[in-house]
């Protein structure tokens, strides 16, 4: 922790602290938030944050300049060797940085903490072509479903219920991630449908300016060159809620304060990244299970 703080102090990045409880929460369909009671606020509910992203972007829009935060984040139902529902994130934002510049800065930080040596950079498409022999942008959804049945042993009735991105996620975690075991690797330029809060790079096909770092096959960090257009951000939030309705998932309040901040704020080109600190500690200790480095995992919390 001290090494992380001194890294950012050297670079003039300001440490901030933002609320863990908030009136709104992430709309992304596959992130489930803990909902708490709070009688003193309108609506009587607050959400434990799945990441400090919204609040930090509001600071950025208010002109904070480069900021970082080490905080707890909460995601319900995520529990396993690499997941604990309560976990520690390091998240930082760099106004004026491209995705490539932020990847380079992340490498410098990790070089200090883990001494990993050089890292590879693949696009999402390159990795899928190389390790799964699939063009993730051109392939049809039925052939993806067929692939997960044939190559990954998914039951056919499960496969037909999988949406396109779920098939791609499955191939990523079962085929690509294990293949990236040997060397630290960045994946960038994700499908537009997996943009989350990243801006879209126009092109053919258009891709999300999103980047993820895998070390020893473990997903360690996820970054975006941020979407700063409040209109498009609103559309994506509403799109997420529509997907939630279709999948029978709970509806959540949209973060209108973030939308207003984007609309009126000073946020221009900016890249941000979130890094799992528990996983970082696990990797530096040479362990493969979070329970090896968490004194009190959720089962004993």
């Amino acid at each position: 922790m001290a090494a992380i703080r001194s890294f950012f102090a050297d670079r003039g990045v300001l440490e901030v602290e933002t609320p863990l409880l908030s009136a709104a929460t992430a709309t992304a369909p596959h992130l489930q938030s803990f909902k708490t009671q709070c009688r003193s606020v309108p609506g009587h509910h607050l959400y434990l944050q799945t990441s400090p992203e919204s609040a930090m972007k509001r600071l950025l829009a208010a002109g904070s300049g480069p900021i970082f935060q080490i905080c707890k984040a909460f995601r319900e139902s995520e529990q396993g060797a690499l997941h604990n529902p309560e976990f520690t994130l390091l998240e930082w934002y760099r106004p004026g940085f491209s995705a490539a510049a932020l990847m380079t800065e992340t490498e410098a930080l990790l070089e200090r903490l883990l001494r990993l040596g050089p890292m590879r950079r693949f696009t999402y498409g390159e990795a899928f072509r190389k390790y799964a022999n699939i063009d993730p942008f051109a392939v049809s959804t039925p052939s993806l479903q067929e692939y997960v049945v044939r190559a990954l042993g998914i039951a056919p009735q499960t496969a037909t219920s999988l949406e396109r991105d779920a098939c791609l996620d499955l191939i990523l975690s079962r085929r690509i991630q294990p293949a990236l075991h040997r060397r630290p690797t960045w994946l960038c330029e994700f499908p537009g449908s997996q943009a989350q809060l990243a801006r879209i790079l126009e092109g053919s096909p258009p891709v999300a300016d999103r980047f993820e770092l895998f070390i020893a096959g473990v997903e360690l960090a996820n970054g975006y060159c941020e979407l700063t257009d409040s209109k498009e951000q609103r559309q994506r939030f509403l799109g997420d809620l529509a997907v939630r309705r279709r999948l029978g998932l709970p509806q959540v309040p949209v973060d209108t304060r973030l939308l207003r901040a984007l609309e009126h704020g000073l946020l221009e080109e900016c890249s941000g990244i979130a890094l799992g600190v528990d996983r970082l500690v696990m990797l530096s200790a040479g362990e493969a299970h979070l329970e090896a480095v968490l004194p009190f995992p959720i089962s004993r919390a």
């Binding site: 596959h30 690499l82 997941h83 998914i154 949406e163 779920a166 079962r174 996820n222």
Partner: protein, 189 residues
């Protein structure tokens, strides 16, 4: 039977897949990025013993299987089926060769076996981990040879063939580990 969602999966849970009862061996939570979460599960088919791997979407559920284990006393083999009795209630059960399988060669009358029931039917029989059986047939013993480590085959009263040290004679009782099929020691009644 209740159904179980993936977040209730844990090793030992008995579930139904395609009409067969399975026991969960391992359950791994897999979630890439901010995408769909999956559970990758290893299960043992309780009818065939085969281990399979399945991946489920997190939140999917499986019907529970009405499976339970109990200890029954083995009574006798009538040439066609094996007969067991609940030593508490005296209720009797019969099992055919599909159910008893390889356990048959370790079953000795009066021994307590762990049996698995599914929907009230006998599903499988596990012999005790250690059984004491008489040697029916083996080459003559070599007296005093307790150190060489050499072995010879011996046919036991149940028909099982195990490797025994050279000093073991016909008519002697030996203790066998049924999980490995290996000789453990000579035994007294």
């Amino acid at each position: 039977m209740a159904s179980y969602s993936t977040n209730e999966f844990k090793s030992g849970l008995k579930v139904l897949i395609d009409g067969d009862p399975f026991s969960i061996l391992e359950n791994e939570f897999v979630k890439p990025g901010k995408g769909q979460a999956f559970n990758r599960v290893k299960l043992r088919n309780l009818k065939t013993g085969r281990v399979i791997e399945r991946t489920f979407k997190s939140g999917d559920s499986l019907e529970g299987a009405d499976v339970h284990e109990t200890d029954l006393q083995y009574l006798y083999y009538d040439g066609d089926s094996w007969h067991f009795m609940d030593a508490g209630s005296y209720e009797q059960f019969t099992a055919d060769s599909k159910v008893v399988g390889d356990a048959a060669k370790w079953l000795k009358e009066q021994d307590l076996c762990t049996v698995t029931f599914w929907n009230g039917q006998l599903l499988s029989v596990a012999p005790p981990n250690f059984v004491v059986l008489m040697v029916n047939e083996t080459e003559p013993g070599v007296r005093g040879d307790t150190a060489s480590g050499a072995t010879k085959p011996a046919t036991l009263e149940t028909g099982a063939v195990v490797k025994v040290p050279l000093f073991v004679d016909e008519g002697e009782l030996i203790k066998v580990d049924t999980r490995t099929g290996e000789y453990v020691a000579r035994a007294k009644e």
